[in-house]
């Protein structure tokens, strides 16, 4: 039932609204509201109960194994959350005087420094509010760089077919044409194909490494050389940084600019779809273009760098300085992990992924890249099962839900048919991986002996499989008060 269906005219959580002394509202009639809005009319208990009950209908890290590839669903430390929610942080106005802001600013500054070190970049701006905005900022800086040099003919960004959808979309938002490059059979970019694609029109390339195929492109230095020699720049999509924390740095691979996903690598909670945070780091030559504001340290005190300090900046991407609360969480997380912890994150994420990959292969599943080591994630393709048993990746995904495990990412990357992109992360215990393997084997059995059980899954959740076609065709996007 919707909260509106529990509402009654006149009902309210009276405690939460201020008392109103009857003051005159001296606003012209034609600027005043005359109709009611459909907000709930509920008691405080009804609201608490309704949303508590709703929450229980979610899978989440706190309740389930959630091996959603590319999303790095690892433990979101409660200690970090609690500290970031301290009243002094929550009550700080974004435009508060610097004198009363040194605590927050110092955290942001230190995080900038740490992220620069982790990525092998010169400078970091924290302001982008998610990975996609980081990508936008990065490509916008590439554009600003070329424009600054009057190198105006460059109008293409190269993007692998395996790339996340945000990459081409971000490139287009920056006014570029997108050229897609296919992935080689080994999961690497084919250098000859790449050579044939680049030219004076090449503004740059967007890459993830390890890629969303779960493999590390060994030719990355050669790729960088080809792009740089063609006059382009390299953008690094940092969504997979968890795989290589402290092992290899995008800057050393030859990248000029990258974004981080603080809500992945740095364990800030995903919140059912956000907020995230997508800081960007750049090499020296892109530094002038970084988005503002940033934090600088002068004589032991911190202040904002704004467009005035950075005249070539691509500008401002939000009203204030991005998702400050997420920045704070990432800072705290980094201080907890420390140097050793960062190494460990990559190591155990990789250990878990390779263990799972090997065990699933042994159990008869087909790997997309059987010859390759997994990075922090890997791909199983169910193309064979779809053909022979009529059970698709989607079916297996839904059936996993019945066993109390969130499904891996399905049908991404697009180039692998019927794929499951599986990322266990470093915070899951071996027993949980073993349980996942057991149920994958069980589902494979079911697919052979009782395929309908799988193709009609889920069976144990509050609802059965949803009709997405109806959802798109008969659009129902708001509750109709008449009902």
């Amino acid at each position: 039932m919707l909260i509106f269906e529990k509402s009654q005219t006149q009902r309210q959580a009276a405690l939460q609204a201020p008392d109103i002394v009857d003051t005159v509202l001296d606003i012209p009639k034609e600027l005043q509201r005359s109709s009611k809005a459909v907000l709930p009319e509920a008691s405080e208990l009804q609201t608490v109960r309704h949303y508590t009950q709703l929450s229980q209908k979610n899978f989440s890290i706190d309740t389930q194994f959630y091996p959603l590839g590319s999303c790095t669903m690892k433990y979101n430390p409660r200690g970090v959350h609690k500290l970031a929610m301290m009243p002094d942080f929550l009550k700080r106005h974004p435009l508060a005087p610097l004198k009363q802001s040194q605590g927050y600013l110092s955290c942001a500054y230190e995080l900038q420094q740490m992220l620069a070190s982790i990525s092998g970049m010169s400078t970091v701006s924290l302001t982008p509010m998610a990975g996609a905005q980081g990508e936008f900022a990065g490509v916008a800086m590439i554009r600003a760089y070329h424009e600054d040099r009057k190198d105006n003919a460059r109008n293409e960004i190269i993007v692998p077919d395996a790339a996340h959808g945000t990459n081409p979309a971000s490139a287009v938002m920056c006014g570029y044409k997108v050229k897609e490059i296919p992935t080689g059979a080994d999961g690497n970019i084919n250098l000859n194909t790449l050579k044939a694609m680049v030219g004076p029109q090449t503004a740059g390339i967007m890459l993830t490494n390890p890629s969303t195929l779960g493999v590390f492109d060994q030719n990355i230095k050669a790729v960088a050389k080809i792009i740089h020699e063609a006059g382009g720049l390299l953008y690094y999509d940092g969504a997979n940084l968890n795989a290589i924390l402290g092992k290899v740095r995008p800057g050393d691979m030859g990248f000029d600019v990258l974004h981080f996903n603080l809500h992945k690598t740095f364990a800030t909670p995903h919140g059912g779809g956000g907020p995230g945070c997508g800081p960007v780091g750049v090499s020296e030559r892109l530094k002038p273009y970084l988005p503002t504001p940033m934090v600088t340290k002068e004589n032991d005190s911190y202040r904002w760098l704004t467009k005035k300090d950075c005249p070539k900046s691509i500008g401002r991407l939000s009203c204030f300085m991005g998702n400050a609360g997420i920045i704070l969480r990432a800072y705290i997380y980094c201080r907890i992990l420390g140097l050793q912890g960062m190494h460990r994150a990559a190591e155990f994420a990789t250990l878990n992924a390779n263990y799972l990959q090997t065990r699933l292969q042994q159990a008869g599943f087909t790997l997309a890249y059987p010859e390759r080591k997994a990075s922090h994630e890997f791909i199983v393709t169910l193309a064979k099962e779809a053909k022979t048993l009529g059970v698709t990746a989607m079916d297996v995904a839904k059936r996993l839900l019945d066993y109390g495990v969130h499904a891996p990412t399905t049908y991404f990357p697009l180039l692998i048919p019927e794929c499951l992109l599986i990322e266990p992360t470093e915070t899951e215990a071996k027993e949980d991986l073993d349980y996942f393997i057991d149920i994958m084997i069980e589902i494979l059995n079911e697919a052979k002996t009782n395929p309908e059980l799988v193709t009609t899954a889920p069976h144990t959740l509050p609802i059965k499989r949803l009709d997405d076609v109806k959802a798109a065709r008969e659009l129902d996007l708001t509750w109709n008060f008449g009902e």
Binding site: A169, A324, L401, L466, D467
Partner: protein, 454 residues
């Protein structure tokens, strides 16, 4: 090992299964010359106890005083239940609801949110959030360019009385796509854009007009006339509004024949100030142009047995399906902030939200009365304002603010650097959280500060 569950035994067994000698071997596909052994400038890890101590020190540096700053972010009472519920693990540690059947909590909540915010704005549909108010404006502009098939110019007129950071953000995000944002000057005595100011564009191809209400100065403009002007000239009308204010002010869906797109900052709906984020941007529109909407949208549907359920819909607009042809690159949005806002709206209800708006209105008007009693302090503009007001002081604003800061008061926002024509201009705001005593205290201290500085 912090957060890592592996025992020595686990590691040994797992490596044996993989057939690797050591964890480091797992990285051997990375070219040796690229591999590093350590990172610079990363301090040693801390236990949770030490981290508490560290962060308490940091937080104590941000000890705030009485805050009279608004300028895009507002201090409101947030019912405890809001974050006690939003902070539940099941909401906070879930991903975007890709597996609908395992995400009905988040999905139903978002459907409820879409209903609430669309209704509040007087619009037909809403998406499930954008990053913040300023970037929402940028998306609204891009959306208008896609939606207005009658216009080819990609020229957007924006009222010069809009928050200057919104203008900067929109510019930064849209300019690479050949869109030009043109600023329509506001009247220097009334502090708002008059319809007369549009006269110069009378015969031009304009794609959209951006109308803030209340505007950056807190001033109320003649939004009906401005909307009508836009529509008469085949331009779309984009409203930028404060959701609290809209509880009392005419909803954009009712401005003249109704605006096409509404966007704004969702922060006032239960989101703490927290240094500027995470907040969320809201975006509503007419149903006719919903396919041009950026971001996630939740739809109601049924399951295989006919039971009601909720799911992500119209995904063909989005980057993960449509890639370079998507309506936007946005992927992760501000889900948890929207979760909080939904609970906030449920607790306040429309009547409650109206009371909040009235209390803000009353407090800011009373504050203005008290402050303009001080010698040399005057209202910068004539006309109606809502819960923010621009004052002119007889002396330098920064010096005054500095002085107030020492007294534990964050005395407003200095507007003059943004609008040099407005000299010694201080933007102040008093929401419902301020008491009579607070207002009087501010007035006393401001008088004192002006004396000291002037």
């Amino acid at each position: 090992m912090p957060y890592i569950p592996h025992t020595d035994n686990d590691i040994k067994n797992m490596l044996a299964v993989i057939g690797a000698d050591s964890i480091n071997d797992l990285f051997n596909e990375i070219p040796a010359e690229l591999r590093i052994d350590t990172l610079k400038n990363i301090p040693d890890g801390l236990g949770e106890m030490q981290t508490n101590q560290l962060m308490q020190e940091k937080a104590s540096l941000d000890k705030r005083g009485l805050c009279f700053i608004g300028a895009g972010a507002y201090e409101h009472h947030i019912p405890a239940a809001v974050w006690e519920i939003a902070g539940r693990g099941e909401f906070m540690t879930a991903y975007t609801p890709y597996q609908a059947e395992a995400s009905q909590g988040t999905l139903q909540l978002l459907y409820e949110y879409q209903t609430m915010i669309a209704s509040l704005m007087g619009m037909e549909v809403s998406n499930a959030s954008l990053y913040d108010g300023a970037s929402a404006l940028a998306e609204a502009v891009l959306m208008a360019v896609r939606a207005n098939r009658k216009s080819k110019s990609k020229r957007i007129l924006v009222a010069g009385s809009i928050h200057p950071h919104y203008l900067d953000t929109a510019n930064a995000i849209v300019h690479a796509q050949g869109i030009s944002i043109e600023v329509v000057p506001f009247c220097n005595t009334q502090g708002k854009v008059l319809v007369e100011a549009f006269a110069t564009y009378e015969n031009e191809d304009i794609t959209a007009v951006v109308i803030p209400q209340p505007n950056f100065f807190g001033v109320l403009a003649d939004v009906n006339q401005l909307t009508a002007w836009a529509h008469q000239h085949n331009a779309l009308a984009i409203a930028v509004v404060n959701p609290t204010a809209v509880a009392l002010l005419k909803e954009p869906g009712q401005w003249a024949d109704g605006v096409d797109i509404v966007c704004g900052e969702g922060q006032p709906l239960g989101i703490p100030l927290s240094s500027g984020g995470p907040y969320f941007g809201f975006l509503c529109c007419k149903k006719t142009i919903v396919r041009q909407m950026p971001g996630r949208i939740i739809g109601r549907t049924v399951d295989s047995e006919g039971l009601t359920g909720y799911t992500l819909t119209l995904q063909a607009r989005e980057q993960h399906i449509r890639r370079s042809k998507a309506t936007s690159n946005i992927c992760t949005n501000q889900g948890l902030a929207v979760t909080a806002a939904t609970i906030y709206m449920s607790l306040l209800g429309f009547e409650g939200l109206k009371k909040v708006a009235r209390a803000c209105y009353a407090n800011t008007h009373q504050l203005a009365a008290l402050l303009t009693n001080i010698d040399g302090v005057t209202l910068m503009f004539q006309g109606h304002y809502f819960h923010e007001v621009l004052l002119q002081l007889p002396c330098d604003i920064d010096a005054v603010l500095d002085n107030l800061c020492e007294q534990g008061i964050q005395g407003g926002f200095n507007v003059s650097p943004y609008f040099p024509q407005l000299e010694n201009a201080l933007l102040v705001c008093a929401t419902e959280v301020k008491t009579e005593k607070d207002l009087q205290h501010f007035a006393n201290q401001l008088e004192f500060a002006i004396h000291q500085v002037a």
